[in-house]
């Protein structure tokens, strides 16, 4: 006979254990009734748009949000349909996704990894978001991609240019439509050789964080392959506001090209400072001094004003492209918002349509079915011509643009001119390329 007395302490312990178990967040374990995380059961489906609404990239985030809202309108059969009319896949019918009306919730990444994860988690856990789309930073993209992998939802990245997003940090649930630093180098190198020659000495100023390092590595590799010499690579703190003390040493360094591996406010300020110091008026080694900004965006170009005139860089997409997909998107966006879209807006719009189309083709919202539909998907009509979503690393491959600051802009929007459309084949690389090595895609997680 055993004597099992019930004590107050025992009741409290058992209660605490049971309570903790019940209170465990359910986002990482889909309910037993659902086959996957946030399986839509009603007449609508919720998409989560996670963009910077505050902080230094708020303008870019706002542009992404406008494009995402436009995509939702088009998916629901409202407006002029935009790229649904030009998209090579005809799975989308303008009646939502799989017949369910598309709704959306938004989160504010603040361009901070922890805030972005918190807002994505909230949208998945509280709002039932079936996918997460958007963002304007590689740090944020990698952080949110990891969260979506754990949560069992699809992550359609926004503006993220670091090689790592689809390199060492790639995930089976994450997909990137935007180009990357390697592609910038591969696209820029031939144009740099043609315009500046093969005997150049480059000085790099690089934002001291993950994206800056991968871009510097990519540009150094591609320019040295041309025959250029790298004089110096200097890391600048991300929080820097004045770059004069970094620019001054360039003057007498023996360099004749300055490469600014900066983005956002860093790029605007470092370029402004370089122009102030008269670098573009300087002759070094018997050649005109040149500046290169490998990653451009329209909004940053506007911030840099006249300083970008003549400065070369690369872009994922530009509203001045003349393919049918671009024309349809620019018309739709321009008529609704009164301005042409930025390349971050375009990538978020395309990602939303690509996700919806993949769901339609898979016939399910199950992330693993969607991922399978996206992998090695070949399409056209969303801008940049024929595009391939490579299955091996979930990186999109399409034409890349080399652009230059317009010498004679006619309005506030044509601050950049397209110099060359680099064919897709020229920017492709092996999934095992050393710059992308070190990570595993892993297995798709549906949250089941």
């Amino acid at each position: 006979m055993t004597n099992k007395s019930v004590t107050r302490r025992g009741v409290l312990k058992s209660g605490a254990v049971a309570g903790t178990g019940l209170a465990l967040p359910t986002i990482f374990t889909a309910s037993s009734a659902a086959a996957y995380t946030n399986e839509p059961t009603g007449s609508s489906v919720v998409l989560g748009f996670n963009v910077p609404q505050t902080g230094p990239y708020a303008e870019e985030g706002n542009d992404e949000l406008l494009a995402q809202q436009l995509a939702v309108e088009h998916l629901n059969g409202e407006g002029d349909g935009g790229c649904m009319n030009t998209f090579s896949s005809k799975a989308l019918k303008g009646n939502g996704i799989l017949g369910k009306k598309v709704e959306f919730v938004t989160g504010d990444t603040q361009t901070k990894s922890d805030a972005a994860r918190a807002s994505a988690k909230s949208m998945i856990e509280k709002d039932g978001a079936i996918m997460i789309n958007g963002g304007s930073s590689s740090g944020v993209a990698v952080a949110v991609q990891g969260l979506c992998q754990e949560a069992g939802v699809i992550f359609m990245a926004g503006l993220t240019h670091a090689n790592d997003t689809t390199g060492k940090d790639k995930k089976a649930n994450g997909f990137r439509h935007f180009f990357n630093a390697y592609m910038s180098g591969a696209a820029l190198a031939p144009v740099l050789a043609a315009e500046m020659g093969k005997e150049r000495r480059a000085y790099h100023l690089t934002a001291d964080y993950n994206w800056g390092w991968t871009q510097e590595e990519s540009i150094v590799a591609s320019t040295e392959a041309l025959g250029w010499e790298t004089v110096n690579t200097v890391k600048t703190p991300l929080a820097s506001t004045d770059f004069s003390s970094y620019i001054a040493p360039v003057l007498n360094s023996g360099a004749d090209v300055l490469v600014l591996n900066h983005y956002g406010g860093n790029m605007v300020n470092s370029l402004t400072n370089a122009i102030q110091f008269g670098l573009l008026d300087k002759v070094a080694n018997g050649k005109d001094f040149k500046i290169v900004v490998p990653l451009y965006s329209e909004l940053m170009a506007a911030g840099a004003g006249e300083n970008i005139k003549g400065v070369l860089g690369s872009m994922n997409w530009n509203w001045q492209l003349q393919d049918e997909g671009t024309k349809a998107f620019v018309k739709s966006f321009g008529e609704k918002y009164g301005k042409p879209p930025s390349n971050s807006a375009q990538t978020c719009y395309a990602q939303t349509l690509l996700y919806a189309d993949a769901v339609e083709r898979a016939g399910t919202f199950n992330p693993c079915g969607v991922a399978e539909a996206l992998e090695d998907f070949e399409f056209d009509g969303l801008g940049n011509g024929p595009t391939w979503y490579r299955g091996a690393d979930h990186q999109c491959f399409k034409d890349v643009l080399v652009v230059r600051g317009n010498e004679n802009p006619t309005n506030a929007y044509d601050t950049l001119e397209i110099v060359e459309i680099t064919p897709r084949a020229q920017v492709e690389y092996d999934p095992e390329h050393p710059m992308f090595a070190g990570g595993e895609l892993g297995k798709c997680n549906s949250g089941a």
Binding site: E59, F277, W319
Partner: protein, 343 residues
């Protein structure tokens, strides 16, 4: 040698901004005893005074140019500034070109008013509260001010270029016997340094050579005794708050052409400026100016390739490193007075 001179110039230039902001902070702390974390926001508002003047001068009327098309294929909207229409294209363009110097005239009354309203409307209620309360309320105010600016002007930086005549760079090397192109320096950075020296000189002269300044200095030394003499010292201190706000604002107006203003620029300077004040000595005006230039020069040298390769990361910590050393060896700062913030 030319590289050293270049970094000294850069340091003086950075130090100019630090010194001007720290001077205002010290004026407020020395007179009112308030630790004003909204001072960086005043610098930012000054810069946006220049942005506002630029936008006002660029107010335009629109005509349609049928010969050109916009991005949607519609006739291009051509904007002509009213000032060009009123004063002719050349005079109008010159007025727009000089918008930053003209903004000084606009910024002085605006900043005096902002300072006055800030002090009377909010900060005076916190005089007798602990410094922690003052820091919290002024920091909150700074966030509100920057969000208001972001609401109206957006988050992107906005270019406020210098006048054409003062843009570009000048070969200083030739003037002092160096080779051509050895020391090339932007003209506006030299203008900024000269402007900072002028403002600092004007503030010191005002305090040193006017009756008002004499009373303020007396009030800073012993507020109660000056009050017992029947002088309304509170009123004078309120005016000093306005002057401190104007100094920060003018520093911001002139800083715009160096780096395009954005809503966050005040925060970028705030922490550094407090370090400058502490290193200079709380309440010491000459200390704030000296520390501003000193730390500016040290920061510039720490950013050189030689320094960053010798001690990686030194450029990011130099100011705080110096602050630690100064506070360990001279706890009251370089020129701090006994009894200030020690009770």
């Amino acid at each position: 040698m030319d590289a050293i001179l270049l970094q000294i110039l850069n340091g003086l230039d950075k130090g100019s901004a630090y010194a001007l902001i720290a001077l205002g902070l010290t004026l407020i702390f020395g007179t009112l005893g308030v630790v004003n974390f909204a001072h960086g926001a005043l610098f930012m508002i000054g810069a946006f005074c220049a942005v506002s003047v630029q936008k006002l001068l660029n107010l335009s009327f629109v005509t349609l140019d049928e010969t050109q098309k916009d991005f949607l294929g519609n006739p291009l909207k051509v904007e002509t500034p009213y000032v060009q229409s009123w004063f002719g294209p050349e005079v109008g363009a010159t007025i727009i070109d000089w918008s930053v110097p003209l903004a000084i005239l606009f910024a002085i009354p605006i900043m005096l008013m902002v300072g006055y309203v800030m002090e009377r409307g909010l900060i005076k209620h916190f005089y007798k509260r602990p410094h922690a309360d003052q820091i919290l309320v002024t920091f909150g105010l700074a966030i509100v001010m920057q969000e208001v600016v972001k609401y109206f002007f957006g988050a992107n930086p906005i270019q406020t270029p210098p006048p054409e005549a003062l843009s570009g760079s000048v070969d200083l090397g030739i003037m002092i016997g160096f080779d051509t192109n050895a020391i090339i320096y932007p003209i506006w950075r030299l203008v900024y340094f000269a402007f900072a020296v002028g403002i600092i000189g004007a503030v010191f002269s005002f305090l040193q050579f006017t009756t008002f300044g004499m009373v303020v200095r007396a009030g800073m030394a012993d507020r109660e005794t000056v009050g017992l003499l029947g002088i309304n010292i509170d009123r004078r201190f309120t005016i000093m708050f306005g002057i401190a706000a104007a100094v920060a604002g003018l520093a911001g107006v002139m800083y715009g052409p160096l780096n395009p203003p954005n809503y966050h620029m005040g925060m970028d300077f705030l922490v550094l400026s407090f370090v400058v004040v502490v290193v200079g000595g709380m309440g010491s005006l000459p200390g704030a100016v000296l520390a501003g230039f000193l730390l500016g020069i040290l920061e510039s040298f720490a950013s050189t390739t030689w320094a960053t390769t010798t001690i990686p990361g030194i450029n990011q910590i130099i100011i705080y490193l110096v602050a630690i050393i100064v506070l360990l060896t001279r706890p009251r700062g370089l020129m701090g007075r006994k009894g200030v913030m020690e009770e």
